[in-house]
């Protein structure tokens, strides 16, 4: 039965249901159980923004705190996964991932390949991405393209509470390492989510809105910007089709190509920096595979090629918004100057 819960609650519920179903599912990271017994705390802090709150009370044997040593506990997750457990490691901000690149890129991602398919590494790294909460440049990047570049990793970027729950359950049950990126700005966003456990397959994009003039491929939180833009453009007679890839690796290129072949125009909205990004990758793929269908040059709407600023004024300019998406759409339809 569906009811309305938040993006954060959906992720929490997914972990709780999987920990209940499978005792080999363990959760660890910083401050998951910290704060237990502290004044005003009935359970634990539940991580830096409280996503795991309540899990310690329900599953005390399956959740633990780690020292502030990302390289150590991500390495431990890879080892635990190879040893028969299904760890979900919370690495607060994706910006901190740099210190554990070896564990992720050089170890976990390669185990299956290097051991002839005999090794399984069923681990999930949960992490937050995105600007918008005045958390400055070391807590606000959108680094999903870095993980997408690495074969052997699966990369998940849910855009709404329903997808967040279903994709998290799929991630935990998957036998490969999964990087699960949560947009911190969306944690309070609510939507209909079934109470039952359910899975959403990797590699299937969602067509959020049907249209026949322009395809907007939007990633994570940018789906909301695309929806706002499409709504305003519809009053001008421009019908946008919005494609949410949901997983960046595997990427559902079939749905993207099919949409572009129908509309003839492409705008990619990606909160990350523009160079070597998902936006540039999707534009390249479409240009290579759908060239004959294109009626205009594909457009990218991204952050500028600078670190996320701390200044609120500048941060607001940094994150792509609906107006910029609409301008890019109009650039493809020839109804205004290039965005």
């Amino acid at each position: 039965m569906a009811r309305t819960i938040s993006y954060m609650q959906a992720i929490n519920e997914a972990m709780a249901q999987e920990m209940e179903r499978d005792k080999t599912v363990i959760v660890f990271g910083e401050d998951n159980i910290g704060g237990t017994g502290a004044p005003g705390e009935i359970d634990a802090w539940g991580g830096v923004l409280g996503v795991t709150k309540g899990l310690h009370g329900k599953f005390p044997d399956q959740i633990m705190d780690t020292p502030i040593s990302e390289s150590a506990f991500i390495g431990a997750a890879a080892g635990a996964a190879c040893s028969g457990l299904r760890p979900v490691a919370e690495l607060m901000f994706v910006d901190f991932m740099g210190v554990c690149f070896d564990q992720i890129f050089n170890q976990a991602a390669k185990f299956k390949y290097m051991f002839g398919g005999k090794a399984k590494t069923p681990m999930v790294i949960r992490t937050m991405y995105g600007a918008g909460i005045r958390a400055a440049s070391q807590h606000s990047q959108s680094l999903y393209s870095i993980f997408t570049h690495i074969p052997g990793l699966k990369v998940v970027v849910p855009s709404n509470p329903y997808d967040a729950k279903g994709l998290m359950i799929t991630s935990i049950r998957d036998d490969d390492p999964v990087i699960f990126l949560e947009n911190k700005v969306q944690y309070a966003e609510e939507g209909e989510v079934p109470e039952e456990s359910y899975t959403i397959p990797f590699g299937e994009a969602e067509i959020v809105r049907e249209g026949d003039d322009v395809t907007i491929v939007a990633i994570g939180r940018m789906v909301n910007m695309a929806k706002q833009a499409a709504e305003s453009l519809s009053s001008e007679g421009i019908n946008c089709e919005i494609v949410d890839p949901r997983t960046l690796s595997p990427l559902d290129t079939d749905t993207i190509y099919e949409s572009v072949e129908n509309t003839g125009r492409l705008v990619v909205v990606d909160e990350s920096n523009p160079r070597c990004s998902l936006a540039s990758d999707i534009v390249a793929l479409v240009s290579q595979n759908c060239f004959d269908s294109l009626e205009a040059a594909p457009q990218m709407v991204t952050a500028p090629h600078v670190p996320p600023p701390f200044s609120g004024v500048l941060e607001d300019l940094y994150v792509p918004d609906a107006e910029r998406v609409a301008a890019a759409v109009k650039a493809t339809t020839g109804t205004s100057a290039k965005a």
Partner: protein, 370 residues
């Protein structure tokens, strides 16, 4: 003054709040009879034709093709030919000034859940609480839920209480299906009737729901007033096993769309939202296992379990689409000789959706005889 009738945006399903005018099917000035198809409308879930609820002339097409109207909004105006134009204008003006769309959340009756034999069973009851008319119980088919009666239940509830019930393994009911046999579902139906204090009911079953209703009538003839069989299973061995296996196997949109298109004569009726709804049901834990169990019990080896039609001792109405690709329409030949059979040309397995108006009229006339 002659009566002026509103042709309004219908409400197809509990979640529908607005619809888009796709195409007018008749010109202004056309003489209409009650039940004539007037305008095609698209909701989030499905396309269908809005039928005239009155006889008269279509005097005004108020909504244009492409317009999005809230439920209850004015599509057009029907009146006698001699009603002056200024009265039509005044009617439209008054409507536009006074119409208040229902607010989000004002969705009317909601599905309920009751425990039957330790399982949670979801159902939707529509109709007058105080009615003493014999109720109608509607049972969806394999893989289907109460939403398949979205075009029927409200209309039929004008005369009697109508219950649409999700069987175990389906819709919002418990996913556990025991041995998955028709006898299992018969027990659930009996428990459901007891839970609602229903001593006797008319039954309408679609596809496998027809086989369940038929078996219930054989097991409990004293509790069945009549049987309405919609593209019913159980009256011949043939069944489209490509559909059954395709439905179980489909986990992605493309595969599910292909499977669902077998259900309709017009494949364009399978919308993106319909596919998404079915996929979100299929992706819940336990659903595929339940569907497998039921298929192996009811459609083992690609053949249906056939009910003994000769033993049915209740009035029967059967409605079949001539283009049914799941259960052949020829199975109607195996019904008892006194069964009333309606074959609707050019429609498929989901005849109650593709030909909602004729289906509702046939059922209404049939039930009116009791």
């Amino acid at each position: 003054m002659s009566e002026i009738k509103k042709l309004g945006m219908p409400k197809w399903g509990l979640t529908m709040t607005e619809g888009t005018v796709v195409e007018w099917l008749v010109e202004e000035g056309t003489e209409l009879s009650n039940g004539d198809q007037v305008v095609e409308v698209e909701s989030e879930k499905i396309n269908n034709a809005v039928e005239s609820s009155a006889s008269g002339v279509l005097r005004r097409r108020v909504a244009n093709e492409g317009d999005v109207l809230p439920v209850g909004g004015l599509l057009g105006v029907i009146a006698a030919a001699d009603v002056p134009d200024d009265e039509i204008d005044a009617f439209v003006k008054e409507f536009e000034e006074n119409f208040v769309p229902e607010e989000e959340g004002e969705s009317g009756p909601a599905p309920e859940t009751v425990e039957v034999g330790g399982r949670q069973i979801q159902f939707l009851k529509l109709g007058d609480e105080g009615s003493t008319a014999t109720p109608l119980v509607m049972i969806p088919g394999y893989g289907g839920d109460i939403n398949i009666f979205v075009f029927n239940q409200e209309t039929l509830a004008a005369d009697r209480p109508v219950y649409a019930v999700d069987m175990p393994g389906h819709g919002g009911s418990t996913k556990e299906v025991g041995d998955g046999t028709i006898d299992f579902f018969v027990e659930v139906v009996d428990g459901f009737l007891a839970s609602q204090g229903i001593e006797k009911a008319h039954f309408a079953g679609h596809s496998m729901g027809g086989a369940i209703a038929s078996s219930y009538a054989l097991a409990h003839p004293d509790k069945v007033a009549s049987l309405i069989l919609l593209a019913s299973a159980g009256y011949g061995e043939e069944i489209n096993s490509d559909y059954i296996e395709g439905f179980i196997g489909a986990n992605k949109r493309r595969d599910m769309k292909s499977a669902l298109q077998m259900l309709f004569a017009d494949p364009d009726l399978v919308t993106r939202d319909l596919v998404n709804d079915i996929l979100s049901y299929k992706r819940k834990d336990g659903v595929n296992e339940s569907l497998r169990t039921v298929a192996d019990s009811v459609f083992a080896d690609g053949k249906q379990r056939v009910v003994d039609a000769s033993e049915l001792g209740v009035p029967v109405l059967a409605i079949w689409g001539s283009e049914d690709r799941i259960v052949p329409a020829s199975h109607a030949d195996n019904l008892p000789k006194d069964a009333k059979v309606e074959r609707i040309e050019g429609k498929g397995h989901m005849v109650q959706m593709e030909a909602a108006g004729p289906t509702n009229r046939a059922i209404g006339e049939f039930l009116g005889g009791f």
